[in-house]
């Protein structure tokens, strides 16, 4: 058992035993060891289900946003990775989450693996994933097995991560992991997209958004998409976004989401991972982050004292010259 996992259990157990929270949100094993899922623990004697490993991908701060807590006034304990904490900071910057009602356990992160990439290496179902040092072993239902170097199957946003340690936490599950000295963002695959011609970009976007089924998993999994249950994408008053499911309307729907979370979204990739048809939504948000950084030098969710880029206006803000 990793030290971080033990510490998470200890902190969660104490918070529950001392009645500081009504429930604690962490990660636990899913149907089998090949996946981790959100865990909601209500009693101190149930904390042993909590796990921490490179499959703990869910950004649990999504369960803090308006109308998610059950009951609505619950006091909630929650685990955050570095990227998750940036979405939490973004929510706190706008008072969208009540600081007094949450207890935050920060978990320094070494990168999360992209389970879908592993899955595609097999026709059969992956039923077990185990870790040994930097080696990840995946096994299927028929017993086929394959080793991967962890670095080869981590998410793009993990590979380019500059903030592996949580910004905001009441307690930490471990000492911070080493951070890069140069915090200049790396944009990963977005630069490949930018190199395309406008026609190629159109084609790529059309190709990506053609299969969208408008299930709203992206919207609902997004921690900073706070009008989620009142979404303009569904509203008929005003009827701004067409309800027809086609490439153009699908893209429009995602563009609306992208603009609405701009300045809050650190591109944690929760939308991307929730998408059942694997649309690379993360790229849209990453692109918006790059624009914000290039124009304003702004990075979302890195300081409690700051306001999101679109909530402030300075006379010397660049306008339309980019």
């Amino acid at each position: 058992m990793s030290d971080r996992q033990a510490k998470i259990r200890e902190l969660a157990g104490a918070a529950l035993a001392e009645d500081r929270v009504d429930y604690f949100i962490g990660w636990k094993q899913g149907i089998n060891s090949s996946e981790a899922i959100p865990a909601f623990v209500r009693n101190a004697d149930e904390v042993d289900q909590l796990v921490w490993n490179p499959l703990s991908h869910h950004n649990l701060t999504a369960f803090l946003k308006r109308k998610m807590p059950d009951p609505p006034n619950a006091r909630i304990g929650v685990c955050v990775k570095g990227c998750d904490s940036r979405t939490l900071v973004a929510l706190l910057q706008e008072d969208l989450v009540d600081k007094e009602r949450i207890y935050v356990v920060g978990v320094p992160c070494d990168g999360i693996i992209d389970r879908r990439r592993v899955e595609k290496e097999f026709a059969d179902e992956v039923v077990s994933i185990s870790f040994s040092g930097d080696t990840v072993t995946a096994t299927t239902r028929c017993g086929d097995s394959k080793d991967f170097a962890k670095g080869d199957i981590t998410f793009d946003h993990c590979n380019t991560c500059r903030y592996p340690n949580p910004f905001y936490a009441d307690d930490m599950a471990a000492d911070p992991v080493p951070e890069p000295e140069d915090r200049t963002p790396m944009w990963g695959t977005i630069e490949e997209f930018e190199a395309l011609s406008p026609a190629e970009k159109d084609a790529k976007l059309a190709d990506a958004f053609e299969t969208c089924i408008r299930c709203f998993a992206c919207i609902h999994a997004c921690p900073v998409c706070v009008c989620w249950d009142q979404c303009v994408n569904r509203s008929r008053r005003p009827a701004l976004v067409g309800q027809r499911v086609d490439t153009k309307e699908n893209l429009m729907f995602q563009m609306v989401h992208m603009f609405h979370v701009a300045g809050r979204c650190p591109s944690c990739g929760a939308c991307d991972r929730a998408c059942p048809v694997e649309i690379p939504l993360y790229l849209l948000h990453r692109k918006m982050n790059k624009e914000l950084y290039d124009m304003l030098g702004f990075e979302p969710g890195v300081s409690l004292d700051e306001k999101p880029a679109f909530q402030t206006f300075k006379l010397d803000d660049p306008f339309g010259e980019h």
Binding site: D19, D22, Y23, G30, I31, N32, E35, I37, P38, A39, F40, R42, N43, H58, A62, F63, K67, M68, D70, P71, N73, A74, R75, R101, K120, A123, D124, E125, V127, R141, C142, T211, I213, R214, C215, F216, A217, I219, H220, A221, W228, D229, Q230, C231, R234, S235, R236, R237, P238, A239, G242, Q243, R244, V245, D246, R273, A274, P276, V277, E278
Partner: protein, 390 residues
Amino acid sequence: MKFLAQDQLQAFLGHLAGESRVVAPVKGDDGVVLFRPWSPGTEVELDVLLAKQSAKEFVLRQSETYLRYGYAMEGEAAAQVDDSHEAKVALEDPAERKAAQDAAVTAHAVLVVEPVNDAPAQVIFGLRPCDARGFVQMDNVFGGYGGFYFDPYYNAKREATTLVAVTCRDPRSTCFCTSVQGGPAATEGADVLLTQVEGGFAVEVVTERGETLLASADLADAGQAQVLYAETVKETAEARVDAAFDLEGVREHLRANIEDSGWHDLSMRCISCGTCTYVCPNCYCFNITDEMVEGQGERIRTWDNCFNPSYTLETSGHNPRDIKSNRFRNRFSHKFWYYPEKYDSLLCSGCGRCITHCPTRIDIREVLGVMGSERTAVSATTPATSGGEA
């Protein structure tokens, strides 16, 4: 039983495509398998057990125009509209202004309404028995079973569709077809059932429609070895589906547990998206909206789902299923209580897509296990009110 050799598959599909559209599971560049219209040369993906989505989209479209209408603007009518427009510009609330302008356009002109119902002949090839059964379960709803309404849009497409199912070879740990009266080689709903055997497929005709489909295909009879092989494949697959769980009394228990706090516990990790319903081969609920541009419009129906927080939101602001756990409860109760009460079967064919595609892996089997059985001790874990300050 007939035999279709693997190397004849493309020619066979080409033959079918001569008569109608062919839809089949195809792997995209991103490795995602989806049902797509097939064209010659496209490889059909049958190694991956289930396409990401069921094939229901090809009968119950994600969005479908069912009426077109237009307002012709001529002479006096056009002038009246212009006047109305002028008057409405003064309204300050943009939504109100838009509504008023739309109403002005719609109110004063000659109206032409035309129903639309396109239903080209199609063959859905390569779907699994659970997906084929999904159609049967929807058929009751749209076919007026129990004395209700006949839906001409669904049925036009359904009656123009032939289903060629393929026996599952490697059921997944999330498959539970045998618990809901199906199986990896079940034929209900399928017109033809293929079973992968050495060198190709054993072909069984299930319905008259299937008979017609194969009549002109000129397939050889299957040999004794192939017939036996197919039997073995079916038995092996059947054995690989996890032991069936008992659904006896599930309807009564769901009814008895309707206000049980277990719904809150189970729905905690639900994010209230609609993924489970959209990948489901038999969730069929929908929305109807009007889309109009400059007097020409369409009334469309689009998939919608009971997890959508605005689904039941009323104009007054009142929402009967405002709480996430109520919406969550609705889906499972619909499948195993409401639907069975109306249509005398279950609204689930056990494909397990709702489990594998749920962003937080909510497991329908777990939900049924907890809420579909007797709850002796009511869970005391959900406090009615929090200890925190209100």
